[in-house]
């Protein structure tokens, strides 16, 4: 495992191009495009204000930089650095901006979600979509880039509009049976749209591409409901994480629950392995070596840690949330399927230091990783069944079915890993600190001796 040197970035804006060749980062109001393998700066663009959002187009030729305060969007071309494009939303303001899947249209959501403006970079034409809904996830493109589903709210009722991304033709517009739609997501095969209600009511609706209601699922009434929803990459399973600390998995044939995963505070009676991170305190240095150690830099303050396999039963530390606050920190808030749909990683908010890995084939718990501090971010490798996670300290943790490992990120002055993302080839990881970023190159099997 090799680590690159540390570069500057701001706002955690750092994205790899879809073709995997370039890495774009934002430093205040500059956009820096580097080559992923050599990390040489290929292009440097200057925007008019601090960049709030940055996104690659699907063909990896253009980068969109949105500045929400100024209401501006600037688009830069990689091939022609002189090419420029600026979209000014004017007095209406800007709240979010994104590319369309063909890489030639930009969808801007105005302030107060008044409307969604579709700018065409081909013809400079403008289209408007009215009454978009301001919710957790109100807009989603299908994976093949053909359709856009948008949640709308008119007359205190929720609707969904399905557009064809080719020419923004409104294909379907139907009312949903939700009280207050919180989010929608296309299945990876693009044929089913999962729609879920706000946390006040547990309701998940499944609509077919042509607007027919296929099924409704509601696990219980009255208590706080759905927190997060995730499709498996094979479109076979829909995992629903809710405030009752359980994950329910529906199958795509009958849309009924096939299994329920619970997150008890005491793990017992399971064949899973529990990995516990144990920190090794550094040895107290003698006087002679003190100077030497200080000159070596931050090794004095970095504690080594490793994983130990715990014997069952194991107690996971629990933090009870305040009962009177809204959106309590309880329940399954993050769900992630591995790329082969074999594993599902979950995090329960009141056990923030633990990550649970479930085997979807056997429908049982595979492993539990207990860290020393709260897990901030975890992501699956896009190619292999490997999970990378970080907890805000200077270490990177990796889990694979073969075992678990903790790696110290070697950087001067300490590098607190706040979030991470995999490169689309699965060969490298991008680690983001507060104002820094670092790349970690995984050893491929040919390089291993």
């Amino acid at each position: 495992m090799n680590f690159s040197e540390v570069f500057k970035q701001s706002n955690q804006l750092c994205k790899v191009s879809p073709n995997g060749k370039y890495l774009a980062t934002c430093v205040q109001y500059r956009l820096v495009v580097r080559d992923v393998s050599t990390l040489q700066i290929l292009q440097l663009y200057t925007c008019l204000d601090q960049i709030s959002h940055m996104e690659w187009s699907s063909d990896s030729l253009f980068v969109l930089c949105a500045m929400y305060k100024r209401g501006l969007v600037q688009v830069w071309s990689l091939e022609q650095p002189d090419w420029h494009c600026k979209i000014d939303e004017g007095s209406i303001g800007l709240v979010s901006s994104r590319w369309s899947p063909d890489g030639r249209h930009i969808l801007n959501t105005t302030e107060f979600h008044l409307r969604v403006t579709v700018w065409s970079l081909r013809t400079k034409a403008v289209s408007y979509i009215k009454y978009p809904k301001a919710c957790q996830k109100g807009i989603d493109f299908s994976r093949d880039g053909c359709y856009l589903a948008l949640a709308e709210r008119r007359d205190c009722k929720d609707y969904i509009s399905v557009f064809v991304c080719d020419d923004w033709h409104l294909l379907r517009h139907f009312e949903t049976e939700t009280q207050d739609l919180a989010g929608l997501e296309w299945s990876p095969n693009g044929c089913v749209l999962a729609v879920w209600d706000s946390c006040l009511e547990y309701k998940v609706l499944l609509y077919s591409l042509d607007g027919r209601l296929l099924s409704t699922y509601s696990a219980y009434e009255w208590s706080l409901g759905v927190k997060t929803v995730s499709w498996s990459p094979s479109s076979q399973f829909l995992a629903i994480g809710s405030y009752d600390e359980k994950v329910r998995i529906l199958n795509h044939i009958t849309w009924r629950k096939i299994v329920q995963f619970e997150h008890p505070a005491t793990i017992d009676n399971t064949k899973a392995t529990v990995y516990k991170e144990v920190e090794r305190r550094p040895a107290v240095p003698s006087d002679e070596l003190l100077l030497h150690n200080i000159t070596m830099g931050s090794t004095l303050f970095n504690t080594q840690s490793k994983y130990e396999i715990c014997e069952l039963p194991v107690q996971i530390p629990l933090v009870k949330p305040e009962p009177d606050r809204a959106n309590p920190k309880i329940g399954v808030s993050v769900l992630a399927f591995s790329s082969d749909s074999r594993y599902l990683a979950t995090k329960n908010d009141n056990m923030a230091t633990a990550v649970w890995v479930w085997d979807v084939q056997k429908m049982s718990l595979e492993a539990v990783l207990e860290q020393t501090s709260a897990v901030r971010c975890f992501q699956w490798d896009p190619q292999h069944p490997r999970l990378a996670l970080c907890t805000g300290n200077s270490k990177l943790y990796l889990w694979s079915p073969g075992g678990c490992v903790s790696v110290q990120v070697p950087a001067e002055g300490g590098f607190q890993v706040q979030s991470l993302m995999w490169h689309c080839s699965g060969n490298s990881l991008i680690l983001l600190g507060k104002e820094q970023l670092c790349l970690c190159y995984m050893e491929t099997e040919q390089e291993e001796q």
Partner: protein, 557 residues
């Protein structure tokens, strides 16, 4: 009448007098045993004394004054004492009668009392029974009521918990609503402020886009107008996607179904086979052959049916038949296994465990082996973890790593330096050689030039010598003749082609500087030689000339 009661009393007294000892008078005792009519026989004239003494005894024993004392000399009875005695006796008798009456009365009273008491006890017992029953009934009711109370308490607890849960739900919902309300209110306020700002704002910043040049479509195609046709096309595409998805799903399900059916068939066959084996083995033990026969018939039927079933794959009936037959077979197998288990248990309990100890032992051995394996695997995993950790932590061990890196770097540097030296030397050598070659080439060209010049002069001399022979010919022809003479063929007359050839040859000769002397001599020899082979000679020379041409060319280069 006094006689009658006397008789009665005498009777009674005789009865009573049975008990006192009558030692001397056995006869009177005998008499007394008889009926009272023989009373008079007690005292006869013979035994008066004895009777007197006896009566005296009796009277004295009764506590009365004696009737007769021995001191009296007369043997006659004292009438007064006798009368007194009789009177006393009568009094005693009366008294005893009275007491008897009283006692009878008492007895009657007592018996009536006893009866009454018996009655009352009977009543009381009944009452007791009743009350006991009532008591048990009451206890039972109390128990039931207590149970009810407990269950009601439980219900109450549950309800309380439910209420608490609902209260917490309500409170969380309320907090959620409040939070949302506040959020919406904040947004509303922001909107109002914005509206005010916009109304107050004189210059309105319009939306605008500024693109350097329009981009083409990502896929290079031309965009189409929005028409009904495109709408229909979009609809069509959407349905196509859906249909493809359904198609693929259906295919998968059909495959899965086929596999499952295969598995079921296989299971059925295997179960049937094992059952038949078991039945054959158990036939000697079990007397119910009728059942097995029927079962085997059923199996045959089912085997026959399986062929039909494979044809009617989608028929609901076939599916049901299959599942039912499997269930039946499975139940039979289960019952067989249970029977076997019970048999095994009986034999284990009854016989010595010799035959069974072996499997048990093997079981235990297996268990031990497996446990050992598990332990080994665990240890292995632990060591792997450690090694993995070590391997990945060691690069972070900076001291050793940097030293190692430096060492490797130095090695690399030294190696590269050596290689560079070697390459430099080789380059120098190559340079030298190249220089030599060029010098040699230059020298060679010089020499060639000189040589050509020499040749030319030599030839010139030759020609000059020959011109004396044929001075009539034109200088060219002279040259031709020279050549002919040089060739020294007897045929002096030259045919035109040969002349042309000669000319060709001659014209080539001045360029023909690089021909080696050896070849030259060969050529002349050839020329001298044969005139049949003239053409060949010319061709040879032409070849030579072409060769020399190329050589010349090389030289010039």
């Amino acid at each position: 009448m006094p006689e009658v009661p006397l008789v009665k009393d005498v009777r009674r007294s005789s009865v009573e007098c049975r008990t006192p000892p009558l030692r001397q008078f056995s006869l009177p005792s005998l008499l007394l045993h008889r009926s009272p009519h023989t009373l008079r026989a007690f005292c006869t004239e013979q035994n008066v004394q004895e009777c007197l003494s006896h009566i005296n005894q009796e009277v004295s024993s009764l506590g009365l004054p004696p009737v007769w004392s021995e001191l009296d000399s007369s043997s006659e009875l004292n009438n007064v004492s006798v009368l007194n005695c009789m009177y006393d006796l009568i009094q005693l008798h009366h008294r005893s009668l009275r007491t008897l009456e009283n006692m009878e009365v008492e007895q009657i009273k007592l018996s009536s009392n006893v009866d009454y008491l018996k009655l009352t006890t009977g009543h009381l017992k009944e009452q007791l029974e009743l009350s006991k029953r009532e008591n048990t009934g009451l206890l039972e009711r109390e128990r039931q009521l207590q149970l009810k109370v407990k269950s009601l308490q439980n219900c109450l607890k549950n309800e309380k918990e439910e209420v608490q849960k609902l209260q917490s739900i309500i409170s969380s919902r309320a907090s959620q609503y409040n939070h949302d309300m506040k959020r919406k209110e904040r947004e509303f306020n922001k909107l109002k402020e914005r509206l005010n700002q916009l109304l107050a704002d004189k210059k309105e910043r319009k939306q605008a886009i500024d693109v350097l040049n329009n981009m083409g479509r990502a896929d290079g195609k031309r965009s189409l107008w929005k028409t009904e046709k495109t709408k229909a096309k979009h609809e069509g595409e959407m349905y196509k996607t859906l249909l493809c998805d359904y198609d693929s799903r259906q295919r998968e399900l059909v495959l899965e179904n086929a596999e499952l059916k295969k598995v079921l068939h296989q299971m059925k066959k295997e179960i049937a086979a094992t059952l038949r084996l078991r039945k054959l083995s158990l036939k000697g033990e079990k007397p119910d052959l009728g059942g097995t026969q029927a079962a085997s018939e059923e199996e045959e039927e089912e085997m026959f049916d399986s062929s039909k079933e494979s044809v009617e794959l989608n028929c609901v009936h076939a599916r049901e038949k299959l599942t039912n037959s499997i269930r039946l077979q499975w139940r039979k197998l289960k019952s067989h296994v249970e029977r076997l288990d019970s048999q095994v248990f009986l034999t284990q309990a009854g016989e010595s465990t010799n035959g069974d100890a072996v499997p048990r032992e093997t079981h235990e051995e297996e268990m031990e082996r497996l446990k050992l394996e598990i332990q080994q695997c665990k240890d292995f995993i632990q060591t792997q973890q450690q090694l993995l950790q070590q391997q990945l932590s060691s690069p972070c061990d900076e001291d050793a790593a940097t030293l190692l890196n430096d060492g490797y770097m130095l090695q690399e540097k030294v190696r590269l330096r050596d290689e560079w030296k070697i390459l430099e030397e080789q380059r120098k050598i190559f340079e030298k050689e190249r220089k030599n070659f060029t010098e040699a080439a230059i020298r060679l060209s010089h020499e060639r030039k000189i040589f050509e010049e020499d040749r030319a002069t030599w030839l010139k001399h030759q020609f000059l010598n020959e011109t004396k022979v044929s001075s009539l010919l034109a200088p060219e022809k002279l040259i031709d003749c020279h050549l002919d003479a040089a060739s020294s063929t007897p045929d002096v007359s030259l045919t035109s082609p040969s002349v042309a050839d000669l000319q060709h040859k001659l014209s080539l000769i001045p360029e023909n500087r690089s021909t080696k002397p050896k070849r030259q001599s060969e050529d002349t020899n050839d020329l001298c030689g044969n005139d049949h082979l003239q053409d060949k000679q010319w061709t040879d020379s032409e070849d030579l000339s072409s060769h020399s041409l190329t050589q010349e060319k090389n030289c010039t280069i």
